[in-house]
């Protein structure tokens, strides 16, 4: 009997380790021979821990499992109280277009054999037979844009680094996934680490870099452990000739997700945002030409090199090509990772895929793109998931996170939280962010206390302008998005009374 | 080292001689006497000449030759 018990942070946080132990001991007790595979998660988090049992029909799922549900696994599976049917047929999964996350949850993340059996290293092998310029061209042609938030074309960045002259170049992977509501980086690292390794190795070939660093946040201890193991395995298997990879642990600074702050942090300095130019592609890590890409961008690359740029570019809409792993989180019934081509509407994602709120109450707002992303109200659910369409509504896709709130949430409180978060995480370099975030909190406190609401709201809006256009990086520059969107969409939460009543 | 002036002058002359000791003898003697001529004040020279006249005790052979050569030039017979 072959049983899959996931080992990603979510399932482990929900007791998967204990579950695996219970299954083993139950099997031993019953004299049943089982092989337990610790696969990665499929990203269907509302079902975690999702135990899968290999059957003739396919892998049957059971979740969310508790230890009490273990004995039943050894009985009639169809009658198991937590049975969810064949995993592949669960609509949440079936509806996805899994290019980047195709192996997640299926394989044992640390099994090279598994990885290779599922097309692993095909892209790297192809790349080895190509000129660096051709690799860059393929990435350019795929239309892949940086998945970290800025959406800059990855191929152009690579081309710049390839053309730079230097003895040492670097590939740096930004795995400082600090946005609330996002977990795609973590998932790929925990469920399919070789995919990221392969992507970085391809990047190394494309630009002539021999060293790669993954800057991984310290809040992801399991991901750090798994990726370190995977690098050792891949290196020892001789799969990374001329490419030395290392995981570096962050230290709890959100701002280090900003690429130049990340580089400073890697160098061992305070994670301060650098002014650009010079751009990292020319003077990046230790002053050398550096590709700095998000996990998802790099993890998308093996597919592009394996299947061709056209296959990837065939998905998506407008200038947003390929797929986006949307992360549905917060107060939502079916939270998890949903990889889909660009173009699906926000409403479909929240209501059809996510199934509405977990609390069963009406959705009040959705924050898209992390703590620096705008809030959307249900009235805007027709917005297609696309960089430009979001931008047109003063929002951003960012790293693909969606956090759902039900109608009990006070949006003034969330606006204040946005300022508080900015104040907490500000590196302190530029004035609008360093002082502005604190003044923003204070002004919102006044508004929430009903103090000169109209006047303070005007001050707040001015402050948001100052921060938006005056800040050095996106932390201060984008904090106004959640604040202003909340202010615009939910004025009543900010004590704004209908005008006629207040007017003389 | 004693503080007697002539002791110091003998010491200095010997020290200068050592700096030129690697040269062939004739050249060394010329260099040393030239150095003395360029840098020694006349009462210093008078004292060392006098000392040489007294037998030149303590002076290295090279220094002796150089002082003698300079003395010949300074006080042509």
């Amino acid at each position: 009997m072959r049983i899959f018990v996931p080992r990603d942070s979510v399932s482990v946080a929900l007791g998967a380790d204990k579950l695996a132990a219970a299954i083993a001991s139950q099997a031993a007790e019953r004299g049943v021979e089982v092989s337990i595979v610790r696969n990665g998660s499929r990203g269907l988090f509302w079902l975690e821990p999702l135990v899968e049992v290999e059957t003739a029909q396919g892998r049957a799922g059971f979740g969310p499992m508790t230890q009490a549900d273990v004995p039943a696994l050894f009985g009639d599976l169809a009658a198991h109280p937590k049975a969810v049917g064949l995993v592949e047929e669960i609509p949440f999964l079936a509806k996805q277009q899994r290019l980047t996350f195709s192996r997640c949850g299926i394989t044992d993340p640390l099994s090279l054999a598994d990885y290779q059996a599922h097309d692993g290293f095909k892209g790297l092998e192809n790349a080895r037979g190509m000129e660096p310029a051709a690799i860059c061209a393929a990435v350019k042609d795929s239309g892949l844009r940086g998945r970290g938030g800025a959406g800059f074309p990855t191929g152009i960045k690579w081309e710049t680094v390839r053309n730079a002259k230097a003895e040492q170049k670097y590939i740096v992977c930004n795995a400082d996934e600090g946005d609330s509501g996002t977990f795609a980086d973590r998932l790929i690292i925990e469920a399919d680490p070789f995919c990221l390794i392969e992507g970085m190795a391809i990047a190394g070939l494309a630009v002539g870099a021999t060293r790669g660093y993954v800057y991984l946040r310290s809040e992801y201890p399991l991901a750090i452990q798994i990726l370190r193991e995977a690098i050792v395995i891949a290196t020892q298997a001789g799969l990374l000739p001329n490419f030395a990879m290392e995981v570096r642990e962050g230290a709890g600074a959100y701002v280090c997700g900003e690429e130049t702050a990340l580089l400073d942090s890697l160098e061992g300095k305070r994670g301060m945002v650098r002014a650009k130019p010079p751009i990292p592609a020319l003077q990046g890590l230790f002053g050398q030409p550096t590709v700095i890409n998000n996990v998802l961008s790099l993890a998308a690359v093996p597919y592009i090199l394996a299947e061709g740029a056209a296959a990837y570019a065939a998905c998506g809409m407008g200038r947003s090509r390929g797929t986006m792993p949307v992360q549905i989180a917060g107060n939502v019934k079916h939270g998890g990772l949903f990889e889909i081509a660009f173009g699906i509407t926000l409403g479909e994602l929240i209501n059809d895929i996510g199934g509405g709120t977990a609390s069963g109450r009406p959705v009040k707002a959705v924050q898209a793109g992390g703590p620096l992303g705008a809030y959307f109200a249900p009235s805007q659910f027709d917005t297609p998931y696309d960089y430009e369409a979001f931008a047109a509504r003063d929002g951003l896709i960012g790293h693909g996170g969606l956090v759902v709130f039900d109608d009990t949430m006070d949006m003034a409180h969330m606006a204040r939280f946005a300022m508080e978060f900015c104040a907490h995480e500000s590196c302190g370099k530029c004035t609008p962010c360093r002082i502005g975030s604190t003044r923003g909190m204070e002004t919102l406190d006044k508004i929430m206390a009903g103090e000169k609401v109209a006047q303070n709201t005007e001050i707040l809006r001015d402050l948001c302008e100052t921060m938006k256009f005056g800040s050095l990086c996106a932390l201060g520059g984008f904090t106004p998005y959640p604040v202003v969107s909340a202010l615009n969409l939910f004025p009543e939460d900010f004590g704004a009374t209908p005008l006629p009543a207040a007017a003389e | 080292m004693s503080h007697g002036t002539i002791d110091r002058l003998v010491y200095m002359a010997n020290q200068i001689s050592k700096a030129f000791a690697h040269d062939p003898e004739a050249k060394a003697v010329a260099e040393i006497s030239d150095h003395l001529k360029k840098f020694w004040e006349k009462r210093m020279l008078a004292q060392i000449f006098h000392h040489l006249d007294e037998g030149g005790e303590g002076l290295d052979p090279l220094a002796k030759q150089a002082v003698a050569a300079l003395q010949r030039k300074a006080q042509p017979a």
Binding site: T431, I435, T438, G470 | A19, A21, E41
Partner: protein, 947 residues
């Protein structure tokens, strides 16, 4: 006379030859490629508001006031971090930008005290100015929010205060400490709103790594870092550009004044030696000029056991002149002489040597260079043809390998050291040859590739072994040698250097430097594209000082490292005007411009100009003067601005020589140690009170300018002039510029120098004449000054100062950052807080075997004498070596040093003395007697009130 204001262009200038034309606010401007938009605007007269940008630091982009709009580009980029691009169209002013800037300023002021009227920076505050520029009228956030207004002041530094309540976190101080000074003593602690400038581990300034160079204070745009004198006195109202009177770097400062009171000295950005940087001495330690110890009235006494009597200048001068004349009448004209000062101006020095040569009628003139860089003169004149360093300071920017021998730049020449460290941080490699682990060996972000920790006294062996490696391993630059030097002399030298006794393996026995390490260092230097040598008194103050200078000159020639920027042989000269005092003819064998007294042409020029006949024979050097004094043939001495009792070796012999004289005239700011043995005291004048020029270690002649009246009534040159007249000379000068004119007309290498030229050019590096009308930054470019470079054999002759069972340790001496030379000036400032006494550095091993603990009083004894001081246990020195400074008269380190000296120049062997250490209870009897004698010798009887 107003306050000199320097334009701040916001970002550094670019040197690119490619030019870029762009449009700013409708006006077209062309600037070098890489220039920032901010600087381009400033160059056309448009000041974009800024706070974090200043043109001495790399652009940073944090204050967000300098935002502009650029057509075709999104957002509002910072003009300080945005380089110009061809055809770029920039708008620096529009309503959107105005609103943004006001918004940012409103945030700043929401966390800033509203005390402009009582603030020390009022009227000279960039924040205040910027608030005005952007038209901020109101802070709508109120002042009840979170703020830093209660942050505590740090007053620990004696010279400046840190008031974090006024800090705008622009990081200019932190960046200045890193980029300019290279100490990295400051950081921003914390993050976000809690970001705070922090010295060390949130320590106070005094306890931190801060070296008080003042760069942070200079960089601060507000009153956060402020000179205590400004807080006390107020903002200055007029200023003059002048030159520092401390070390040989020759930093240019603005002396900023209120009336007759100095408010502060601020480094001048246009200063060619310091480019706007400073150190703790020049920047802050000028208070000695008005110290209560200063003597401002002439004094005389019959016997040195008498108390001093205050008299008029006329009385003192005629007293001295009469005595001198009387001595000469009784003992011949050679029985008196004088000593010029490396602290005084070129003009003053010139006048003193003229007084001696033309007035006294002999060449008995010497100067303190005798005890420091006289071997440099001899060595470089004979090998290259000129007695000075080959480079300008800027040259270090192009050096790839830097060899520092016997110099401690971070303490001795701090402003140049910062420059050097910057180059080292940029990637140049460093070799340090020094018995002691000086800071440069390993200091934040700088680490020597090789520290050749040689045994004191073995420099020649070490440098010869470096040359041996170069020749043996085929690393010599044959083309250079054939083109620039005499090949046969080279071959002769090479044969000598290839002797087995000069190999690294053989010299290891003497030097203690492992052969493999030495060879590696030799290769590094020889293979460098540009290899530069910097050396100091660790080279010259030896019995073989001259030989080492020659060996260094040979090494540089053999590797082709002479005659272009980035290379050369660079003596780091000690005192502010030691180069100048030598240039001005302070040596007994040389007229101004290094012309031997026997040189008929030179002598005739002077004889005609001065209207007297001059002696063609060399005069006495200082030690020989003292010998002659004890012999009874030298009885009168005029000493301007020197303290030979403290600074010269073998103190006891010096004292007996001085005591034997009939008339010793000392001219100084203070009653120094030498004055204890003087009969006439003429009050000196500080650099702030007179006009003149100093010449720094890079041959740069720079003006000093009078900013206040002489406290003693006259500039030093005026007093010398009075003495000269009293001696019967007919000299007339109404201004020092006339003295410089005389130097120029009588000295070929100074032919083009005049005060007018100095005012026009800012400064001039000699030679300056028809061939080089604006001076000569790098020498020997098209060939050596003497024609062909001369290889001279430099044999290693061990010093006669040997260790043995009685004196098993070697003492070497040096200086420290906060004190200067004999300490006459710095000891009279707050600098003593960093170094209140001389201490003896001793290795833990040597300390343990003698029972010495950190802080113990130890007796330091040599064949010459003994003294007591406190011990400091450190592995900076190797076992067998001890080290101390000579800044404090209480210690009298020169009681210990012997009278061994350089064979060619008599430069004393300060760097090698065999000593023994034992525990003691405190100062020695001799020290106590000496101090008692000093107190006795300095009694002053006030003048009897007129009836």
């Amino acid at each position: 006379m107003g306050l000199i204001q320097e334009t701040d262009y916001g970002t550094k200038p670019r040197q690119a030859t490619a030019l870029v034309t762009l449009t700013i606010d409708g006006e077209s401007i062309t600037v070098p490629e890489g220039t920032s938009v901010m600087r381009a605007a400033a160059e056309m007269g448009t000041q974009i508001p800024k706070l974090c940008a200043t043109d001495t630091l790399d652009s940073f982009g944090s204050c967000r006031l300098c935002l502009v709009q650029i057509e075709g580009r999104p957002g509002t980029p910072a003009s300080c971090t945005t380089p110009v691009a061809p055809g770029m169209v920039v708008h620096t002013q529009n309503s959107k930008l105005a609103k943004l800037r006001k918004g940012v300023m409103e945030l700043y002021i929401s966390d800033h005290p509203l005390d402009c009227l009582t603030c020390s920076a009022n009227g000279n505050c960039e924040l205040q100015d910027a608030a005005g520029e952007v038209g901020l009228r109101e802070v709508r956030y109120g002042y009840e929010g979170k703020n830093h207004l209660d942050a505590e002041k740090d007053v620990s530094n004696p010279y400046f205060q840190f008031d974090p309540s006024k800090c705008i976190v622009c990081s200019r101080c932190v960046r200045a400490c890193e980029e300019i000074q290279g100490t990295f003593a400051l950081t921003i602690g914390g993050s976000g709103f809690n970001s705070k400038v922090s010295p060390g581990i949130s320590e106070d300034f005094f306890d931190s790594e801060c070296v008080s160079c003042g760069a942070c204070v200079q960089a601060c745009p507000t009153a956060t870092l402020m000179e205590k004198t400004v807080i006390e006195i107020g903002q200055p109202e007029h200023s003059a550009v002048t030159t520092c009177a401390y070390c040989g770097v020759g930093c240019t400062f603005k002396a900023e004044m209120r009336g007759e009171e100095v408010v502060r000295l601020v480094p001048y950005k246009d200063g060619k030696a310091n480019h706007g940087h400073s150190c703790v001495k020049g920047r802050f330690a000028w208070g000695y000029a008005t110290h209560k110890d200063r003597i401002t009235k002439p004094m005389i006494r019959e016997k040195i056991t008498d108390p001093w009597k205050e008299v008029t200048y006329e009385e003192a001068i005629s007293y001295a002149a009469d005595k001198f004349k009387q001595i000469q009448a009784e003992h011949g004209k050679d029985s008196i002489g004088g000593i010029t000062s490396s602290r005084c101006t070129n003009e003053e020095t010139f006048l003193v040597q003229k007084l001696i040569r033309a007035g006294f009628g002999n060449n008995n003139v010497d100067t303190c260079a005798r005890v420091c860089h006289s071997p440099t003169g001899y060595g470089l004149v004979n090998t290259y043809g000129t007695s000075a360093g080959t480079q300008d300071f800027d040259s270090v920017d192009e050096a790839d390998v830097i060899l520092v021998i016997g110099a401690n730049p971070t303490d001795g020449h701090p402003v140049f050291a910062s420059r050097m460290k910057k180059r080292l941080r940029e990637g140049a490699k460093l070799i340090v040859a020094d018995p002691r682990r000086i800071d440069l060996v390993r200091t934040p972000h700088v680490e020597a590739e090789h520290h050749l920790a040689l045994r004191p006294g073995t420099n020649v062996a070490l440098v010869n072994a470096l040359a041996h490696t170069v020749i043996e391993e085929g690393l010599a630059d044959e083309n250079f040698i054939r083109e620039r030097c005499d090949w046969e002399e080279f071959a002769e030298w090479a044969a000598f250097i290839m002797r087995p006794e000069n190999s690294p393996e053989a010299t290891e026995v003497h030097t203690g430097v492992p052969a493999a390490e030495l060879r590696a260092a030799a290769r590094l230097y020889a293979k460098a594209r540009n290899g530069a040598i910097y050396y100091g008194l660790g080279v010259t103050e030896h019995s073989q000082g001259t030989s080492t200078v020659i060996a260094i000159a040979n090494l540089a020639m053999a590797t082709g490292n002479v005659g272009r920027p980035g290379v050369g042989v660079n003596p780091l000269r000690g005192q502010n005007n030691v180069q100048g005092s030598c240039d001005m003819g302070s040596f007994p064998h040389e007229f101004p411009g290094y012309r031997h007294v026997s040189d008929d042409t030179a002598r005739h020029i002077l004889e005609i100009d001065w209207g007297v006949s001059l002696s063609n024979e060399p005069g006495l050097r200082i030690p020989n003067m003292i010998d002659a004094a004890t012999d009874g043939t030298f009885l009168g001495l005029y000493i301007q601005g020197e303290d030979i009792v403290q600074s010269d070796p073998d103190t006891k012999h010096m004292i007996s020589g001085l005591s034997a004289m009939k008339c010793v005239v000392v001219q100084d700011l203070f009653l120094n140690e030498t004055a204890d043995y003087a009969h006439v005291f003429l009050p000196g004048c500080s650099f702030l009170e007179k006009d003149g020029t100093f010449t720094n270690a890079e041959r740069r002649i720079q003006r000093i300018r009078k900013v206040m009246k002489p406290k003693n009534g006259y500039a030093d040159w005026e007093v010398t002039l009075m003495l000269a007249k009293a001696m019967g000379m007919t000299m007339e000068y109404s201004h020092p510029s006339e003295i410089m004119d005389e130097v120029a007309r009588t000295t070929p290498s100074f032919a083009g120098v005049s005060y007018k030229a100095l005012d026009d050019l800012g400064s001039i590096q000699w030679p300056c004449n028809e061939k080089a009308p604006t001076g000569t930054p790098v020498m020997h470019i098209d060939g050596f000054v003497r024609g062909r470079g001369k290889f001279i054999i430099s044999d290693y002759v061990p010093t006669d100062e040997k260790t043995g069972p009685r004196f098993p340790l070697l003492l070497t001496t040096g200086r420290i950052l906060s004190q200067y030379n004999v300490g006459a000036q710095t000891r009279r400032t707050e600098n003593s807080i960093w170094h209140a006494e001389d201490v003896l550095e001793i290795h833990p091993f040597d300390a343990e075997t003698r029972g010495v603990k950190d802080g113990s009083w130890v007796k330091l004894a040599s064949r010459a004498g003994e003294t007591s001081l406190r011990a400091k246990i450190t592995d900076r020195v190797a076992p067998g070596v001890v080290y101390t400074t000579f800044h404090h008269p209480l210690t009298q380190a020169n009681v210990i040093t012997t009278d061994y000296s350089d064979w060619a120049t008599n430069c004393p062997e300060y760097k090698v003395t065999a000593v023994q250490i034992s525990l003691s209870n405190g100062p020695t009897e001799w020290q106590n007697e000496y101090n008692a004698h000093s107190a006795q010798a300095r009694r002053i009887v006030p003048p009897v009130a007129a009836e």
